[in-house]
């Protein structure tokens, strides 16, 4: 069954993407984070949060305190599994939201390859222009990677 799972909650989702890697706990485990609808992929190193992985790759989106207190950086977890290594207040991320696959990106650590969708009205901004100098989105069907930034285009 495909789905998103976070702290023991499993949801059924449309079969749009597949995960090819199982949860691994090792330090060298590097889950991929796919940001929809752009399709950009970044790699999360070790116990890096979703926010940290995107920031390291030069990608910006709507965030607030970056410390789990305000909930501004919530995204939709479309596929995959995350865990929270630090306590998250119920007032910031409710149980219902967790069940719905809402993910607090500044605190969520991917434990499988994941796909996330930014909030309505938000968009991905590239701080490091040289990562994708000629387009707002990676060209379809073309595979490339940039080891300097950790970003790579989605492989179709």
């Amino acid at each position: 069954m495909r789905g998103v799972r976070e702290q023991g909650t499993m949801l059924t989702l449309p079969a749009t993407l597949t995960t090819t890697r199982r949860p691994e706990e090792g330090r060298d485990h590097m889950p991929e984070v796919t940001i929809l609808p752009d399709g950009l992929q970044v790699t999360a190193a070790g116990a890096e949060t979703v926010l940290k992985a995107l920031s390291r790759a030069g990608l910006k989106y709507r965030v607030g305190c970056k410390r789990g207190g305000c909930g501004i950086c919530k995204v939709q977890l479309v596929l995959g599994e995350v865990r929270y290594e630090r306590p998250v207040a119920e007032s910031v991320l409710s149980d219902d939201e967790r069940v719905e696959g809402i993910c607090l990106s500044c605190r969520a650590v991917p434990i499988t390859n994941i796909a996330i969708e930014l909030q309505e009205g938000d968009r991905l901004r590239k701080v490091l222009g040289f990562a994708y100098p000629n387009s707002a989105q990676p060209p379809p069907g073309r595979s490339a990677s940039n080891p300097a930034t950790g970003t790579k285009e989605r492989k179709d």
Binding site: R62, G64, C65, K66, R67, G68, G69, C70, I72, R86, P87, V88, A89, E90, S91, V92
Partner: protein, 306 residues
């Protein structure tokens, strides 16, 4: 007679040990009392027992305490607050560590404000006889004292009126829609016995929420040095170092490990005296009023509350 200052902030944090490290080592406060799930701290330049209570579990404000001159103040304020329509009650000595009897008020904005006259006196690090300028064992930023807090309210005009009519606060500066239609968007208020540019601020936002509370620092150099320390300690900076148009203060906004916003604040603020007028800012100049150099608000200013 009346309210003298913001005496304590009682705050929720998600992880007490991370919070201890932030407030004690990064900001330089002293832990003066600890019990399971709770820490009491003070700054080196504060006279009373504590100014910050950290309680583990959740984020945001539990309550704030304003220190008053006399018991008569408490009686008077309680009566006026009740007549205004706010929920009031009494708390007893010992309910708050080392704090005497007091009045607890639930504001129309759902914040809890406590008024008290007595807290155990413990003295500053430098004392009251021939004091040195600062203590040699100062840690981190070395904040002087907790200066003010900014809370959110769906109707900031109502909260301004409450503090004016019930607690004798003066409006030092305010942001209004326009001068012709002066609906209050934000207000910066000074307590009747205070010498600060403001002891409380209120801006339009969700009830019961905290925008930030602030520590006083010496000057612009201290603000810069604080920002350096935040980078060293990986503390997320919201904005700064910069200057506010409103109050004219110099500032850095930053976040504690639970996401509660803090501020370090310094500079030559506008003087507030009984015979001086309120300084008005209009909504079209709000960006300049809040962040004098950027002249535009960042999205976080109006969306990030705890």
């Amino acid at each position: 007679m009346g309210v003298m200052r913001l005496g304590y902030v009682h705050l929720r944090v998600t992880d007490l040990e991370e919070a201890r490290d932030h407030y004690s080592n990064t900001l330089g406060m002293e832990v003066v009392h600890e019990e399971p799930g709770k820490l009491h701290l003070k700054c080196w330049d504060e006279w009373d027992h504590h100014s910050l209570v950290l309680e583990e579990g959740g984020v945001g404000l539990v309550k704030v305490g304003y220190k008053c001159s006399s018991e008569d103040d408490l009686v008077d304020y309680e009566k006026r607050s009740s007549a205004f329509g706010a929920t009031t009650g009494r708390f007893s000595r010992g309910e708050n560590l080392t704090v005497g009897d007091g009045v607890r008020i639930t504001l129309p904005s759902e914040h809890t404000v406590e008024l008290y006259t007595d807290m155990e006196f413990s003295g500053t690090e430098t004392g009251s006889i021939n004091p040195e300028a600062w203590p040699r064992n100062m840690r981190g930023v070395g904040t002087h004292w907790i200066d003010h807090c900014l809370i959110a309210a769906e109707d900031p005009g109502l909260i301004e009126r409450f503090f004016q009519e019930c607690l004798d606060f003066r409006t030092a500066e305010k942001v209004v829609e326009t001068m012709e239609h002066p609906e209050v968007i934000g207000t910066w208020m000074t307590a009747p016995e205070s010498h600060a540019a403001h002891d409380l601020a209120v801006i339009k936002g969700p009830n019961a929420k905290l925008h930030h509370f602030a520590y006083h620092l010496d000057d612009w150099n201290a603000i810069l040095r604080a920002a350096d320390i935040f980078s060293m300690d990986d503390v997320p900076i919201d904005i700064g170092p910069t200057r506010h148009g409103i109050t004219r203060g110099e500032t850095v906004y930053f976040f504690d490990p639970s996401g509660n916003r803090n501020e370090v604040f310094a500079g030559l603020e506008h003087r507030v005296q009984k015979d001086f007028p309120t300084i008005n800012w209009t909504a079209d100049q709000l960006g300049k009023g809040i962040f004098y150099h950027d002249r535009e608000l960042n999205e976080r200013f109006t969306t990030v509350f705890t």
